[in-house]
Symmetry: C2
Subunit: 209 residues, 2 copies
């Protein structure tokens, strides 16, 4: 299984690293981080860079495409990247996104008329690109799987492993990364967090993608 993970300046690290950490454990999987210009890609905080060893021309027929989110505006307007996404999507077995990565898929025309998800603060933007925003953590429609904000890529990738390799493989990888979540609160979605926390985050995120 060949997996291509798109990187770009301003990517949110966990969007990319969550699915990577799940899929790297699939026996025989080959994972390549791909960017317009190969080399280190600075993440949205500025404190970290993730390496892209491959350029767009190096990866033309991956089985799985993963598009993470972050500060995506420049990439949404980059015709070379969008053309690559469209081209690769024609031959993938699975085309996926995490968080606002779905805005890149949408800008490439991949989500036209499709149920899809994104970070909960970005539903309007997703709708403006022709998709139907859907408040589920992982949304699968045919071969397109979109996941909600940032950390949801872990769940998405575990689902993908289940679909591709079965229940035992997904359970084994979950156990391998000891994914037995125990956050101190149950406030990870706008339907669960206290209203004042939702408003706080909404105002904080309005400046961020």
């Amino acid at each position: 299984m060949e997996v291509a993970i798109l990187l770009f300046e301003g990517v949110t690290a966990l969007d990319a690293v969550g699915p990577y950490e799940v899929l790297r454990s699939v026996p025989g999987a080959s994972i390549r981080f791909v960017a317009k210009e190969p080399g280190p890609q600075r993440t949205d905080s500025g404190a970290l860079a993730l390496s892209a060893d491959a350029g767009l021309n190096d990866v033309t027929a991956p089985d799985v495409l993963i598009v993470p989110g972050g500060s995506v505006e420049k990439t949404q307007a980059d015709e070379r990247v969008l053309a690559w996404v469209r081209q690769v999507h024609e031959v993938t077995k699975w085309t996926t996104s995490v968080c606002t990565g779905s805005l890149i898929l949408g800008s490439a025309g991949v989500l036209d008329g499709l149920d899809a998800t994104t970070h909960w603060t970005a539903y309007d933007k997703l709708a403006s690109l022709g998709a139907k925003p859907t408040a589920e953590r992982v949304v699968r429609r045919g071969k397109v799987i979109t996941a909600a904000g940032v950390s949801s890529g872990i769940d998405m990738a575990l689902r993908l492993v289940q679909l591709e390799l079965g229940d035992v493989a997904s359970q084994a990888i979950q156990l391998g990364i000891e994914y037995d979540p125990q956050p101190p609160f149950d406030s990870g979605s706008p339907t669960k967090a206290p209203p004042e926390v939702v408003e706080l985050v909404r105002s904080m995120m309005s400046g961020r993608a």
Copy 2:
């Protein structure tokens, strides 16, 4: 709040990126990735590198030290890194680890006689370094917080935010990264996964840290 995240060749990406993604959202936090030799540090899969902008001498008094795990043997035997860990630990407010990062803390003498945790396959190694292995996801003893395997660093960092900044800040960051886990199975710990999955992972991980 100054946060230092130690990197090294063979680090497990999610061990470092999980806490990073939580703490980068703390208002005023400064996060620095630190390595013996600054520059890209190849992760354990070989498919990705994480950048360390700082060297050991550049970071001498962080408020928070985070030591991720991975292929840690070389680092456990690296006296320069261990001396830095000891030195920094003297002045930190919090000294933390994720997964087998606790073996590095143990090798530095930080966990002598202390309850601590690590990846569930590494309890014996942790015990051999003087710590008392504890099967909890996040173990806090004084200013030392150790977390279980790989993905547990997210929970550990959310706990740290709660301790430092209170409930609302922790809830807000959890919502910001939409950490509302919904894995397809409940098999993230050896007490929850089917026994045959536990054995499978144990045999797979015996070659890996």
